[in-house]
């Protein structure tokens, strides 16, 4: 996926939103900036298919170099698919965070939160400020 076409949460998750069956579905993952800061990844716990997500709330967990971090849902909705191969191929997050590194697909049930997501220039500005 083209990073310039994605939306980003302030907590460093990305979302690719597309129309599907009359609604919107977001494919979500973790940004390259966050992956680089986390360095060597060792565990990823995926959300469960069918679980509900709330924008800004944790929906997964990841461990790198003895550091455990929550992964926050960028959108509100229902998890309809997860990248089941990813926990066993964590290098995909480093190699290809915006395609092979996708975590889940979420059917959006409340679109109001999308306005809080950043476009790429705004997200890059935030990353520069964080150093």
């Amino acid at each position: 996926m083209d990073p310039s076409q994605l939306l980003y949460a302030k907590t460093h998750e990305w979302a690719f939103v597309e129309d599907q069956d009359g609604g919107k579905v977001a494919t979500v993952g973790i940004s390259a900036f966050a992956i680089e800061a986390l360095t060597d990844l060792v565990y990823l716990e995926l959300p469960k298919v069918g679980s509900q997500t709330t924008a800004g709330q944790p929906f997964g967990e990841i461990e790198s170099v003895k550091a455990v971090s929550d992964v926050y849902a960028p959108v509100t909705g229902e998890v309809i698919a997860v990248n089941e191969e990813l926990p066993n191929k964590l290098e995909s997050l480093n190699d290809d965070p915006y395609a092979g590194g996708w975590i889940a697909k979420i059917k959006i049930t409340d679109e109001s939160g999308l306005a809080n997501l950043l476009d790429q220039p705004a997200y890059e500005k935030q990353c520069q400020e964080e150093g």
């Binding site: 360095t39 170099v65 550091a67 971090s69």
Partner: protein
């Protein structure tokens, strides 16, 4: 920057972990860092967040010890003859951004402290990558930021990164525990006695210099204590949490 310093006595493992998590939550709101030193009232095995509970039985020496599951990563630690620290810092502090940067600050300050006390310790550097599963015990694992004496790890740290704050806690192995006899401590390796209090005092000075922080002795707030009671009951003292993986 002012940092609250909490110097606690020994506590049970579930309380120690609950206080650290309570501080992680409060730091995101207060934006005031807290450094805490503590010990353990009984030998306690802590599992890394993602470790399997059943794996504790692979280490028979600690099988009769209390057990808690940390919120942080890494391997299992037998908390017994050690000094433990935790540091909660807002993510607004740029030094919290890189995972290894915060490890390095504390560990390099510890190495300088030990040098001043006559003990030579080093950073692990680039460890040999083990192709198999990581050892159960944290102190039998190696990461580039660990503190080493004569090839033995004497200090390791782990983090839980929350929204708005980072918790880093770690253990300094002072002496060999009967419940983890394969792990020598500083006293065993350096043939010198360093008390927990003496190490804490000297390390604090080095940390003050390294972080450019002014430490001010304080206590948990009432809200933090109340939160820790709840966190302990719901998570760290609950079998559902300890045995959940």
């Amino acid at each position: 920057m002012a940092v609250r310093l909490i110097e606690n006595a020994s506590h049970r493992g579930s309380w120690n972990m609950a206080v650290d998590d309570s501080l992680l939550e409060s730091t995101a709101d207060s934006l005031t860092p807290t450094l805490r030193f503590y010990e353990w009232s009984a030998p306690t095995l802590s599992l890394g967040y993602f470790q399997k509970y059943a794996d504790r039985w692979s280490h028979p020496e600690s099988s009769d010890a209390a057990c808690v599951r940390r919120g942080s990563g890494g391997g299992a630690i037998m908390h017994d003859q050690e000094l433990t620290y935790s540091y909660c810092v807002p993510t607004a502090d740029p030094r919290s951004t890189a995972v290894t940067g915060l490890f390095d600050l504390f560990h390099q300050a510890l190495i300088r402290t030990l040098k001043n006390l006559g003990v030579t310790a080093t950073i692990c550097g680039n460890p040999h990558k083990n192709d198999g599963d990581a050892p159960f015990l944290c102190f039998e694992r190696r990461s580039s930021v660990d503190v080493i004496i004569d090839g033995y790890k004497v200090c390791g740290s782990a983090q839980r990164r929350g929204r708005g704050a980072v918790l880093q806690h770690g253990s300094i192995l002072l002496a060999r525990s009967q419940k983890a006899p394969q792990l020598p401590g500083i006293t065993d390796l350096a043939s010198t006695q360093i008390s927990s209090n003496a190490l804490q005092k000297a390390w604090l000075q080095e940390l003050s210099d390294a972080l450019s922080l002014n430490f001010k002795v304080g206590q948990l707030t009432e809200a933090e204590s109340t939160s820790a009671v709840k966190i302990e009951r719901e998570r760290f003292a609950a079998a559902e949490w300890t045995e959940k993986k």
